[in-house]
């Protein structure tokens, strides 16, 4: 048999092992190796190499799963806490916007209705509503960052 033909079948064997061959190619290879000792040895060496690969065993070190899960849980809690503070920040933002709207649109009308000076209503709304909710709006996103920083410092210590 010519070397060219062997080469052709060796390529088919490679394709078949790599999962690139067709069913027809597979059938041709099987038929061919029954009568060609060179290609049969090629296939056999390839199969021994693949089987040899499966002989290597690599496993996770002791305690790795526990370490991974502890890190995953800590990160999940961190993300959840961040989301919780973000939700509160959105509420604070809504309160700030609402307070400003009330001050601008309803304040004068409320002052006239209750017979109060409009400046007093304006200052009251600022002191009791707008400034506190704005303060919370600034503070809430900072808290998880401060907590993460403290946690990192704790780990370093």
């Amino acid at each position: 048999m010519s070397g060219e033909r062997h080469e052709d079948f060796e390529q088919r064997i490679d394709r078949s092992l790599a999962g690139a061959g067709t069913a027809e190619e597979q059938r041709l290879v099987e038929e061919h190796v029954r009568s060609c000792s060179a290609c049969a040895e090629y296939l056999s060496a390839s199969r021994r190499a693949v089987a040899g690969l499966k002989g290597f065993s690599f496993e996770a070190g002791p305690g790795l799963n526990a370490r991974v899960m502890a890190a995953v849980k800590a990160r999940a809690e961190e993300i959840e806490a961040r989301r919780r503070w973000m939700r509160l920040s959105v509420v604070a933002l809504a309160l700030t916007v609402l307070g400003t709207f009330v001050d601008l649109q309803v304040g004068r009308w409320a002052a006239a209705f209750f017979g109060l000076p409009s400046v007093a209503v304006h200052h009251g709304l600022l002191a009791l509503w707008i400034v506190p909710s704005f303060g919370l709006l600034v503070l809430f996103p900072l808290l998880p960052l401060l907590a993460a920083k403290r946690s990192r410092e704790g780990r370093t210590i």
Partner: protein, 195 residues
């Protein structure tokens, strides 16, 4: 606590995995860690050609899986997606240490073959027979991209399309890597046979 019923559901249903990752369900992640940990370790050992540093990369991989789990849609197998995440982290790791490139052949950059580690080769350490020792030497001499193609094809039983997706390379390139990797290993087996 490890939930056996959940483990059965998760291992048979990729949509359940996708749901768990979307909701950052720690119980689902625990099942995944238990089920895929050894395979993830093996993949990273093959890609890096070393054992040290693998545990840290494994941990980083699971944290990344939890953070970016929403991008897994459950319509394909979980393994290729998991190994893609691990691969990106492995590339960063190798870049930081300026060691071998996983894509050198494709992008034309020179392949830097710095000594990957002063530790003994993980393949040599894992070899139990004479044949395995010969294969271990061949594996250590192979470039990372060939070892990666071999482990995904013959240990993970992935299709060429799945390997191409993990390796971010065209299918013919991936097939060529398998042929070349296999040829290197086969030459070791044939040498031994000829003796």
């Amino acid at each position: 606590m490890y939930d056996m019923a959940l483990a059965d559901t998760v291992s048979s249903d990729t949509r359940e995995i996708a749901r768990g990752l979307r909701e950052r369900d720690v119980a689902v992640l625990q099942v995944l860690v238990e089920e895929y940990q050894d395979r993830l370790v093996r993949y990273l050992v093959y890609v890096l050609g070393r054992r040290d540093g693998v545990d840290d990369l494994v941990q980083e991989t699971w944290l990344r899986v939890m953070e970016r789990g929403k991008s897994y849609d459950g319509r394909s197998r979980f393994e290729p997606w998991l190994f893609t995440v691990a691969r990106h982290l492995a590339i960063d790791f190798l870049r930081r240490r300026r060691e071998v490139s996983l894509d050198a052949e494709d992008d034309g950059r020179p392949v830097v073959m710095a000594p990957v580690s002063e530790m003994p080769s993980p393949f040599v350490l894992a070899a139990r027979t004479e044949d395995a020792e010969r294969l271990a030497a061949a594996l250590q001499g192979l470039q990372a991209m060939y070892r990666e193609a071999l482990v995904l094809r013959f240990m993970e039983d992935m299709s060429l399309q799945e390997i191409a997706a993990v390796a971010n390379a065209p299918v013919p390139t991936v097939a060529a890597r398998i042929y070349r990797g296999l040829a290197t290993l086969r030459s070791q087996m044939e040498e031994k046979h000829e003796r």
